[in-house]
Amino acid sequence: MARSPSRPLEGRVWRYGDNVDTDVIIPARYLNVSDPAQLAVHCLEDLDPAFARQVQPGDIVVAGENFGAGSSREHAPLALKAAGVGCIIARSFARIFYRNAINIGLPILECPQAVEETETGDVLTVDLEAGTITNHRTGRTYQAPPFPPFVMEIIRAGGLVPYTRRRMQEGAR
């Protein structure tokens, strides 16, 4: 179900480092299923066994460079989203993960400054349309670079399938 990106997200932070790869996000031993709920149970278990047990709906993952490095498995953002993650903020994303997250309607932002000053347990408010991130502990607001307009349309539509369906119905060719 598409959530309107115009309503700000608020959540508690799980902070990780650089190069969080798709094998730790969801190991391939679990890729014999594609049901997000079954994947969520194993999300990040080889990196942080506490995560899948303790993550709350709306929590925010904050990470360093190259988040989602490695495989094209869409099961990775699906697992995070089904675990309840409301948004991922990283210094940078691996390109296939970035596309996948947008395609399935998992909000993501690149903002090194926000990542620099954020710790596990912080509460953040994120406005995806404006690209702003506010840290309740520091009181600071950070600005992420805007999405290209066309990517923003995919996000607003809730993902690539609803976006494409709409385009096909409008006869855009």
Binding site: D23, V24, L31, E74, N103, T164
Partner: protein, 435 residues
Amino acid sequence: MGQTLVEKIIAAHLVDDGNGRGAPAPVRPGDLVEVSVDVVMANDITAPLAIRAFEALTGSTPENGGRVFDPDRVLLVPSHFVPAKDIKSAEQVKTLRRFAQAQALTHRFTPGRAGIEHVILPDMGLVLPGDLVIGGDSHTCTYGAVGALATGMGSTDIGVAMATGRTWLRVPETIRFVYEGTLRPWVGGKDLILYTIGQIGVGGARYKAMEFTGPAIAQLDMANRFTMVNMVIEAGGKCGFIPVDKTTLAYVEARATRPYTVYQADEDAHYAAVYRWDVSDLEPQVALPYSPGNVLPISQVGTVKPDQVFIGSCTNGRLEDLAQVMAVLERAGRAFHPDLQVVVIPGSQAIYLEALRRGWIERLAEAGATITAGTCGPCLGGYFGILGAGQVGVSTSNRNFRGRMGHREAQVYLVNPAVAAATAILGRLAHPDEV
């Protein structure tokens, strides 16, 4: 200004350059464009989600108008967990086969008659120079070795492209790599790419295309070229290329059954960076746990005593890779070390059959290897050689992240096939010269 390879291939496939212009119109890095695709691929892990996206988009059944854009050009290859490793994996293959049947896809791939997608697609002439290929597997970049623009994507992108025959791309910058000199014995494409990833880091080519050029590249056979371009993704690369030359054309001409276009980068193309390395003194390289970027020359690695040696994968599962293994085994004149387990998986049935005819499979079995064919097996932690806690694997595959091949406390070292063979004989990480 001149264009890079990736710019040329995107320009030739343009549907909309963002300003309503179709092909041919020049593109520049950063442009967001819509392109037509020549081939769309998925495997048994990624196809179920792609099919779900396809059905959500088209309204489900072929009767409802839900047809793939071109049944000749949608390739669904069961490779990762096949023959089915458990009930759930069998269900995934069933989903793939049911869709292929309903859509009357031209090319069907069955275990025992096919193999790993990145091994068989070029071998069957299904990906060609100048093609724009997207695949539901990150190692789709492999086909850049035949001069195709080939890139991995997730299942939703693949499902939508199966329906529309199009996708959107951001035009990447290109990094050019020039490898000077002549490679030493036992040093090949695997070592060149491991060295490169070690130098620039696992995010060093993020969002960029990689062009591999220079005399050391020109000397590589196709197997070594596939190996090298296969691991572009481990540097974060969007796609990779080795310029088409006589070697490529000889390979392609023997296999192509449709026309293709050879592109070359312009002399005055603009590159984001150019790296120039003399690789004459390059040793075999090793990626240590837990990253493909954690690379050292073999002489600096120290003692590693593996529980298992794995030879195979889309990276090094080709006939020429097995030839390297056999050359080392011949030197040794003895069996593999009794303290470890050796798993050998030729990347396709065709390669397996040729190895059988040459007597290699018998020699490997006599030496103590466990052998199957045409599957990824333990590479991604699927089956057929999973590692337990504290176990050590030496592998010719492409990733060694934590938990990749089994338990999070297992350790995997990535090497070339000759080093894998020497290691299997001596019972410790070893250079072939030590055998």
